[in-house]
Amino acid sequence: MSKKEFSFNEAVAEIEEILANIENGELDIDKLSLEVKRASELIKQCQKKLRSTEDEINSIFRELI
């Protein structure tokens, strides 16, 4: 995800998939914390993306008024 452009939607999709996996209980507990860690990282990136988008939009709006 470093090279490739981060995609919020793809990240959310991956989070959903992780959730589904955890929910289905098909997951090895040994992998659970790895998956949760991955989900958490994705969420962090999403939050960062949201914050940066918000900042961008705010600066656009400041110009607009």
Binding site: I15, I22, S40, I43, L50, T53, F61
Partner: protein, 465 residues
């Protein structure tokens, strides 16, 4: 008739005069048309009255008439006041007359009164006739139905250059306060008298030949004397006006009545000045209309711009919250995911925890069963041990008892006590009689001693116990 009876001309004239007076002593109301009228230096008015044939051409009757100046001054102003017409040629009047015969001037009628109502009626009747004819021909309002150009600037003027009304018109029009530019072309025309009809029609025809250069025709006549309207109560003029291809505006200069020409014109004004004002007004109206149009366009455009601005402003105002809502929804969604992951993760752990928990309880119960089994087995072993040991002891005990009873049974002392004896021979117990011979000494043992006896006889099975 002889000559002696001759009389002088004067005498004759007197006879004629007296006879007329005697024969026609009264006053008469006579209807007639004025064919000539003039006022002399002393203010007397001399007229010629006629009556035409039905064809309105040939004259049937004719007579001179006089209105004395004293009477004339009154009658003239009264007549003009009532009819709006001057006493003039062609006018039909109803006059109160006395026949007078003058030896010098001959027969004439002395008019003492004129009934204006009759003239009005005559004029009206003539107008009515013309109107009816025009209407019957379906042309009456044809000029009225034309459309006046928005800016009537090229004006054909039918008038007389001498007329005061013409210069009034030109001044009013060209020196208009708005500064509008007009183009006028005068078509010199006789505007009163018997030539009027031909002259007007001629001018109109000339204009019609150059119609493409004109927006409008004006027919104007001098202000001043308010007279001779009836020249325009004329069928041919009116007809030409109705047939004219561009609007015709009249300004013939009268206050009360309209001539037929006025009636059929596109527009009739009271005076030439009024015609000029009308033309100026048309342009001014158009300019006002233009101004209104441009104001409307401006205002409407401003409204449109304002609405678009509002619409744009609404969009702009919407853009901010809408984007923020989207972001905050995404944030909420993410927070939801966080909670969901925590919860499902914990659920997962709890569910995974069931397995070791279950295993633990199974382990304890299995261990309990295991030790219970072993315990039971040991208890059974104890029981078996007891049982088998008891049996072993019992068996040995039984054996002992059996042996004991055998010993008791076999103990000779016990046998002897019950009354049995033991017989011995040579110390040996005899169990059979065969070894006993007669005279053998046998020892018989009792419980309380013994007896030695001699056998007397032997035999087998002699006795039965």
């Amino acid at each position: 008739m002889n000559t002696s009876e001759k009389i002088t001309l004067t005498e004759l004239q007197f006879i004629i005069r007296d006879s007329l007076y005697i024969a026609l002593p009264e006053m008469y109301w006579v209807a007639a048309e004025i064919s000539e009228i003039r006022e002399n230096f002393s203010g007397h008015c001399y007229l010629e009255l006629i009556e035409k044939q039905h064809d309105e051409k040939n004259i049937k009757a004719r007579i001179k008439a006089i209105i004395w100046s004293s009477r004339y001054r009154f009658l003239k102003s009264y007549f003009e006041n009532i009819t709006g017409e001057t006493l003039k040629e062609g006018l039909k009047i109803l006059a109160k007359v006395k026949i007078e015969y003058h030896e010098l001037y001959g027969l004439s009628l002395i008019i003492s009164d004129i009934d204006p109502a009759f003239t009005i009626g005559e004029m009206a009747a003539k107008r009515q006739m013309i109107i009816a004819r025009l209407e019957q021909e379906g042309v009456f309002s044809m000029n009225k139905e034309l459309i006046l150009p928005a800016v009537p600037r090229r004006v054909a003027v039918v008038s007389s250059s001498n007329a005061a009304g013409y210069s009034d018109f030109m001044k009013q029009l060209h020196e208009n306060s708005y500064g509008y530019k007009y183009y006028t072309a005068l078509f010199e025309t006789v505007m009163q008298g018997t030539e009027t009809e031909e002259s007007v029609i001629n001018s109109l025809n000339r204009i019609a030949d150059n119609i493409e250069y004109f927006d409008v025709v004006v027919l104007i006549r001098g202000g001043g004397a308010q007279t001779d309207l009836s020249w325009f109560d004329n069928y041919r003029i009116a007809y030409h006006v109705t047939q004219f291809p561009i609007p015709l505006i009249t300004g013939i200069g009268h206050e009360r009545d309209m001539t037929v020409t006025d009636m059929v014109a596109f527009q009739s004004c009271k005076t030439p000045t009024a015609v000029a004002d009308f033309l100026i007004g048309c342009v001014a109206d158009t300019e006002t209309h233009l101004t209104e149009l441009s104001r409307n366009i401006t205002e409407l455009s401003r409204v449109i711009i304002e609405r678009n601005r509002n619409r744009l402003e609404l969009s702009r105002l919407r853009l901010i919250p809408v984007s923020r809502i989207m972001i905050s929804e995404a944030k909420e969604n993410l927070s939801g995911k966080i909670v969901e992951i925590i919860n499902t993760g914990k659920d997962f752990i709890i569910r995974a925890g069931f397995t070791p928990l279950n295993q633990k309880s199974r382990l304890t119960s299995l261990v309990r069963t295991y030790s219970l089994d072993k315990d039971t087995m040991l208890k059974r072993t104890i029981h078996d041990l007891k049982l088998f040991a008891g049996k072993a002891i019992e068996k040995n005990n039984n054996n002992l008892n059996r042996m004991e009873s055998s010993v008791i049974m076999l103990d000779p002392a016990n046998v002897l006590k019950r009354g049995y004896t033991v017989t011995m021979k040579n110390g040996k117990i005899l169990k059979s009689c065969e070894s006993i011979e007669t005279d053998d000494a046998i020892d018989t043992r009792f419980s309380d001693g013994h007896v030695i006896s001699r056998v007397e006889m032997t035999g087998k099975e002699t006795t039965k116990l």
